[in-house]
Chain length 174, copies 4
C-alpha cells in the first residue's frame, strides 16, 4: 500500500487535489494507494503529540500508524517560504519509534503558486528523509504556478502531466 501524504493542513489546499491526481495515476498502473491529508492532524498536535507526549495522542498515532504500514510514500509538498510547510516537518518530528521511514522509499512532488515549484522545499525534505534512512526518488517534478495550470480541479498543463506520469513509472520500479 502506497501512502500519499498531502503535506499541509491548509483547508482547501491544492496539494490535496494533487494527491488525488496522483492516486488516479497510480490506479492506472494498477497500484493501490490511499491519501493521508495533514488536515486530519489534531489541532494541538505540536504540544500533545511531540516530545514527552510523543506516542500519547490517539489521533496522531493513527496517522503515524498509517505511515508505518506504508510500503512506499509519496509526499505532495507545497512551497511555503522557500521550504516545506512547518506543519509537515512537525508531523515528521512527532514520529515515535519504530521509525516509519527507515529503509523505505519515497517520491516527492513540489507545488507552488510562484515560479519555483518547490525545488528548495524538496531539497530540504530530501535532507530530512535521507537522514531518517528513507531513499528519495531522483525525479522530483516541480508544479510551479499551479493555479494557472489547472482548471475545474484538473491539471491542464501537458508537461506537468508527463512529468508526473514519468515519476509514477520510475517510482513503481524504484
Amino acid at each position: 500500500m502506497i501512502e500519499i501524504i498531502s503535506g499541509t493542513n491548509r483547508p482547501g489546499a491544492v496539494s490535496a487535489m494533487v494527491a488525488q491526481w496522483y492516486q488516479a495515476l497510480l490506479q492506472q498502473k494498477g497500484v493501490e494507494s490511499q491519501i493521508l491529508d495533514l488536515i486530519e492532524l489534531p489541532e494541538d498536535f505540536t504540544v500533545s503529540a511531540l516530545y514527552d507526549s510523543s506516542g500519547t495522542n490517539k489521533g496522531f498515532n493513527a496517522l503515524a500508524e498509517r505511515l508505518r504500514h506504508a510500503s512506499k510514500m509519496v509526499y505532495i509538498v507545497p512551497e511555503y517560504n522557500n521550504s516545506f510547510p512547518g506543519v509537515l516537518k512537525a508531523f515528521i518530528d512527532g514520529m515515535d519509534y519504530p521509525s516509519p521511514f527507515k529503509g523505505k522509499k519515497c517520491a516527492l512532488v513540489g507545488v507552488s503558486s510562484g515560479v519555483q515549484g518547490g525545488g528548495m522545499a524538496m531539497s530540504h525534505l530530501t535532507d530530512v528523509f535521507n537522514y531518517l534512512g528513507m531513499h528519495v526518488l531522483a525525479q522530483k517534478p516541480r508544479l510551479a504556478q499551479i493555479e494557472k495550470n489547472m482548471a475545474n480541479g484538473q491539471l491542464t498543463n501537458t508537461l506537468y502531466k508527463q512529468l508526473l506520469e514519468e515519476q509514477v513509472e520510475a517510482f513503481v520500479r524504484f
Copy 2:
C-alpha cells in the same frame, strides 16, 4: 531591541537555556534584548493562526508583534531530524503582513545533542530567511553534543564560548 528566539516549544529545552546565555553575552556588550520562547505559542496555532485564520489569534499576534518591533533577531535553532524544528517553521509560516523579516538582520546559533550542531538546520533556515528578505550573519556557531558541554545550566566548552562571543561581536556591527 534585539529579539532572541528560542526555536522550539519543547518543555525544558536546552535552546531556552542557550537563549539566556546569549542574552547575558549581549548584556555584557551593553545591548538590550529579550527572549521569545516558542513555548509561548498557542497550543492550536497551526490551525488557529495560519492560512485564512492568519492574524486572528491574539496570543500568536502578540509574538508576531514582538518580531515586528525587533531591530535584529537571534535564532537559537535546535536540530530536529537534520533540519530546523517544524514548529519554528510553522511560526514563520504564520506571519501576516507586514512582514517582520524584510530588510532585517539576524544571527543563527545551532544546537544539537548529536555531533552535527545544526549546520544543515541553519542552512535551511538561511534559505527561508533570505527568501523573506532577512540578511543572515555569516558566523553560525554549531553547539554540537550540547549536553556534554554544559554543567549546572552553564556552558563549559571554552571553544563554544569563544564562538558565541565572536558572533555577538560581529552581530553588533552587522
Copy 3:
C-alpha cells in the same frame, strides 16, 4: 572597489554580459566596480594553483589578489546541473591565506537557460561563503530563461531589471 565575478570560464558566456549590465547599474549609483571574468583563469589552474601548489601560480594569484582588495563582491552565478559551476568552486578552493572572503559582504545573481534561475546554485554558494565568513545579501535575483529575456546583448525583461536595481540599492547599503 566592488569586484563583479562572472562565475564561469565558458567562452561567450551570458554571465559575462550580465556582469556588464551589473557594472552599468552600479555606475548609475556612482559606485566604482571592475569585472573579474573566470575565463581569465589559467588553463591548468586546478592542478597548478590548488593544494600544495596553492599560491605559486602567478596568473591565478593576480585574480586572487583582486578579490583580496575588493571591498565587496558580486557573483554572477550561472546554473550548471542544479548548482554553481565547478570552475567557480575550484577558483574558491584555490584561495590561499589570507582569505579574501572573511568579514566581506557579497551579492549573488543567478542566471539560467532553464526555469529555475539558479536558486539552488545560490543556496549552495551561500553555504560556502557563510562558512568562509562572508555575509551574503538576502536579495538574490533569479534570471531564469535568460536567452528569452534579452535581445542584442541587452536585458529586455522589466521585472528582471527591477530586481537587479533593487538588489543594487540594497547592496550599496549592506
Copy 4:
C-alpha cells in the same frame, strides 16, 4: 561493475585511500569494483573538456566512458569549504550525452579533516545527482576528523567501519 570515484585531484588525498577501503569492503561482499581517481583528470580539462570542447578530450572521455559503463557509483566526497570539491563538480559539468547518471544509483561517503564530515557537501551533491536523474542512497556516512581516525593507511574508528559496512550492505540491495 561499480565505479568508486575518489572525488578530488589532490595528490596524496585521503579520499583515494578511503576509495581503497571501500573497494575492499565491496570485495568482501563479492562485488566487483574499480577506482576512478580524479587525479587522472587532464590538467587543462576545465578548458579542453567543457562547453564547446565537450567530448573532444580523449583523456577526459576515457573517464566519462567508465562512468557510462558503471552499473552503480560510489562517490568519496572530501569536504572543501563546506561543499564538494570544485574539481568534482567540473568533472560532472563536463559530461557529454548520453548522460552517465540518468537512471543510475549511487552512494556517497563524506570525508573531512574537520568535525563536519562532509554532510553539507553530500547534500549539495545529492541536489546535483537527483537533478541529473541519479538516485542517491539514504545512508551517507560522515567520516569527520579522518586523520585522527586512521593509522598506517587503515581506518581505526570502529563506528566508521560499521557505518561503511552498513552502507555497503544497503547499497548492494539498493
